[in-house]
């Protein structure tokens, strides 16, 4: 995650060069513990660089004080929807009459196409996640924490398991941590691979050993979630913000963002750019800066055709939107979503129909099958896109694709999978219409690269 100098070498797996840690408020809090060539994921390294200071401060404060700070920080959930964290937490019953146990869940089921930020945080700073979880537990008086981890994240599992054991040992040596450690237990739950398990109510069903279909809301999980008890689900990156908000204060956190959103974000770029990778940057960093400066611009011989700003379930944007700040509302005003903040670049050599086909195939496969626009609509869209890509498309197919997008609009389905699935499709039909039409008029894929039938290969 080096920022400078721009080189042709992909460097994202090199840990970032941060200023030596001191007690001064950092500009890149989430990655301040990540050190080049060092085992920065160990407890010793984390403590040496000032880890667990946020928790230390939290232990001296009341639950109301803590919740007030999280709310005032304007932290918004980093899992895709951008829901204000303080507001979500305020729905959880508190006080002596609250039901117990209360559960906290770290959503580490990252599987959104093009999203790779949570893996990075899980592997590099497991203690930062644990610290965030403990602060949430202290704030909400919770009893049990689960880290719901994607089954394929083997290294993350290993590091988290070690980190939890290190934390336990640390608590035994520090009497001040005893009460919290006695009350709040943390477990790792590894999943077995289905995108829908990342949806928070499906995740709860999965943890109860049921098929992971989403639940009807209300009741919201904050009131009746896991085993019918109050449950908060937050994204990995959301938890990572908490220690710093408590440690360095709300004013500092508010000042980090360039626009109306506060804090920093792990942004990512993948596709044919010179330096694909992840960077921690202020909220509101312009898309152009992300692609042209941090990702080094397009690879030689390729030009930018479009991009999905927030991962595979967000609408395409184009050259015309490059000066949009990566802010929840600003990206929303351009007709897309900030999503996970991991941008996927479409270059001019890759067929937009093939790109949308790949995404729709994924969403069709991952549909839980509960509602018709998703279970039947997405496979139908896949058939139509396959037909277009094979050169057999007709003009009416485009109308049908548009109709399928309308059927899956928000509000018509149980969860956000289907509405998200059609976002790249509906925007591709808008921005890359000529490409869709060329498949029909030329009777083949004009990119001379047919992705049709690719699902048969490994």
């Amino acid at each position: 995650m080096n920022d400078e100098p721009v080189s042709n070498e992909p460097v994202s797996d090199e840990p970032m060069n941060n200023a030596p840690v001191d007690t001064a408020p950092p500009t890149k809090p989430l990655t301040r513990f990540i050190r080049p060539g060092e085992a920065c994921w160990t407890l010793a390294a984390y403590l040496a660089q000032g880890g667990y200071r946020g928790l230390e401060k939290a232990l001296g404060q009341s639950q109301e004080q803590l919740l007030e700070q999280i709310t005032a920080s304007k932290l918004r959930g980093r899992g895709g929807a951008g829901f204000p964290t303080g507001l979500k937490w305020s729905f959880m019953p508190r006080g002596a009459s609250a039901p117990s146990p209360k559960y906290l869940i770290v959503n580490a089921d990252e599987m959104e196409p093009g999203a790779f930020k949570d893996r990075y945080l899980l592997e590099q700073t497991p203690h930062q996640i644990i610290e965030g979880l403990l602060i949430a537990a202290q704030t909400l008086d919770a009893d049990t924490g689960y880290i719901f981890l994607r089954g394929d994240y083997y290294l993350a599992q290993q590091r988290l398991t070690t980190a939890l054991a290190e934390w336990q040992a640390h608590c035994l040596e520090n009497p001040a941590l005893g009460p919290l450690n006695a009350k709040f237990k943390i477990h790792i739950h590894t999943s077995a691979g289905r995108y829908i398990c990342g949806e928070e109510t499906a995740l709860i069903n999965a943890m109860e050993g049921k098929r992971a279909n989403p639940r009807a809301k209300p009741p919201f999980p904050q009131v009746a979630g896991l085993w019918g008890k109050p449950t908060i689900v937050n994204n990995v990156e959301t938890y990572c913000n908490l220690p710093h908000i408590i440690n360095f204060g709300v004013d500092w956190y508010l000042s980090l963002g360039l626009g109306q959103d506060s804090g920093t974000k792990i942004f990512g770029v993948s596709g044919r750019v010179k330096r694909p990778g992840l960077w921690e940057l202020p909220m509101g960093t312009p898309i152009r800066e992300l692609i042209e400066v941090h990702a080094g611009g397009m690879c030689d011989g390729y030009s930018l055709k479009g991009y999905l700003p927030g991962g595979g379930s967000t609408d395409f944007l184009t050259q015309a939107h490059l000066d949009t700040p990566m802010d929840y509302d600003a990206v929303g005003r351009q007709g897309s979503r900030l999503g996970t903040g991991t941008l996927i670049v479409l270059d001019d050599s890759y067929c937009p129909v093939a790109m949308v086909l790949n995404l729709i195939r994924f969403f069709a496969q991952e549909s839980c099958g509960w509602c018709t626009p998703c279970r039947d609509g997405l496979p139908w869209a896949e058939v139509l896109l396959n037909k277009l890509e094979s050169g057999l498309g007709e003009a009416k197919d485009l109308d049908q694709l548009e109709a399928l997008c309308r059927f899956a609009a928000p509000g018509t389905t149980f969860c956000a999978l289907a509405p998200g699935a059609v976002e790249p499709l509906q925007s591709a039909l808008k921005y890359f219409r000529a490409d869709f039409e060329a498949h029909i008029t030329q009777g083949c894929c004009p990119y001379n690269h047919s992705a049709a039938g690719e699902q048969h290969y490994g």
Binding site: G114, G151, Y153, L155, R194, P276, I344, Y457
Partner: protein, 185 residues
């Protein structure tokens, strides 16, 4: 081809032939299930963990395994079947010693992932979901593996292989086959 996870211990390769996994639970498996049951707020909460545990020792989840699990845990067979068939990483059919999980996500495909998967398919003479006749490899592509900046990628033996290209596929498969012990491809 060497991954940055050099420090990561590869999992031991299962050496049992396919048909050796019988329905009966071993004392060790029962013990591990007991531990899971003791820790779970309710028995159904262990479903995924239990299936993963049995799969780790048996390679896959056969009908007899599922039945034995249902009888031991008193969880409904239909519920366990519903969970077992829901997930990408629970195998309800026998798999080879090494399961190859090339990524078929969009960031990998933008960087040549489809060509890589085609090459794997042709080299092993398999389509997705199939196992080689010698039970060495099963090909199960997975969605985005969360390493899109290193595309195209593949997981095998719990190791992530990054920035792969088609040319190195034969050598990579030879290496993976050699890790299984016995003669190479």
């Amino acid at each position: 081809m060497t991954s940055k996870y050099a420090q990561y211990q590869p999992i031991p390769i299962r050496q049992l032939p396919m048909d050796e996994a019988t329905g009966e639970l071993s004392p060790q498996e029962k013990h591990q299930l007991d531990l899971l049951l003791a820790a779970a707020p309710q028995p159904s909460g262990i479903s995924i963990d239990a299936l993963k545990l049995l799969q780790a020792s048996r390679g896959w989840i056969g009908d007899d395994t599922l039945l034995a699990l249902a009888e031991y845990t008193r969880l409904p067979l239909a519920a366990l079947e519903g969970v077992a068939t829901f997930y990408n990483l629970i195998f309800r059919r026998p798999v080879g010693k090494t399961v190859l999980h090339p990524c078929d996500g969009i960031s990998c495909d933008l960087m040549g992932g489809a060509g890589l998967r085609r090459r794997l398919s042709l080299y092993l003479n398999l389509v997705a979901g199939e196992t080689t006749a010698d039970h060495k490899f099963t090909l199960i592509p997975l969605p985005c593996l969360g390493a899109c900046d290193k595309a195209p990628v593949m997981i095998a033996n719990q190791i992530l292989f990054e920035r792969l290209n088609e040319q190195e596929i034969p050598a990579l498969l030879e290496t993976l086959a050699a890790e299984q012990g016995g003669e190479t491809l």
